[in-house]
Subunit: 129 residues, 2 copies
């Protein structure tokens, strides 16, 4: 089978995943790759090429990713589990599992877990950062 | 608010969506944009830029998207509802709502709805076709 090996993304923070290998295409459950951290949003990377990064943002209750924008990248959020707010420019919007949001390049966006449960969001950035 | 208008994708087939306008970033439920067709897989487009296309593939029971590959695009599938098979090279793999698959450029992939219910899959292609 034609499988590509994951370009592993390692980083020194304890809030980043240290996935050592994954072959694609392989069906996975995103939640199996979630990395939560006590002090800030956890990140993990499922796939990376020059064209796209597929990863997870994992929020304990109360954690957030503050409003920010990417000048030359489009971001797609798909909420896997939990609930909270999408932080948009002047307009915070409730969301929950099943909801999708596209933040085109230049559009400010962020996330806050306002719920009592964990919040897990699939994140796709094109091109990869 | 900094919102980008959807680049509308129209096509003559009845199996393609004719979404006339959508602003991003806006939280949506992907299923609200599903287009099913009696004779073949239905397609709809949620967002398109030069960097990425976000859309839906909608399968009535028994419908499929045959094994194929994209030479210069990575594809991400996220199953929204239903169940079926991911068609991979020599290896068809059961899947259902909640499952993610990344088909890197060059990797053959496809989908078949082997269930009795509708199958809806979020599809992301980078860069956009």
């Amino acid at each position: 089978m034609n499988r590509s090996r994951l370009s592993v993304r390692c980083c020194p923070s304890t809030a980043c995943a240290s996935i050592t290998s994954m072959e694609h295409p392989s069906p996975i459950r995103p939640r199996d790759f979630a990395v939560y951290a006590p002090n800030k949003m956890g990140k993990s990377t499922i796939f990376r090429s020059e064209r796209v990064m597929v990863g997870l943002n994992a929020f304990e209750s109360g954690q957030e990713h503050a409003l920010h924008a990417h000048e030359d990248m489009d971001k797609i959020y798909q909420v896997i589990e939990g609930r909270g707010l999408f932080l948009l420019e002047g307009d915070d919007v409730p969301m929950q599992a099943g909801v999708l949001l596209v933040a085109p390049a230049g559009a400010p966006h962020g996330i806050r877990n306002t719920g009592t449960e964990r919040l897990l969001v699939l994140v796709i950035l094109a091109p990869a950062p």
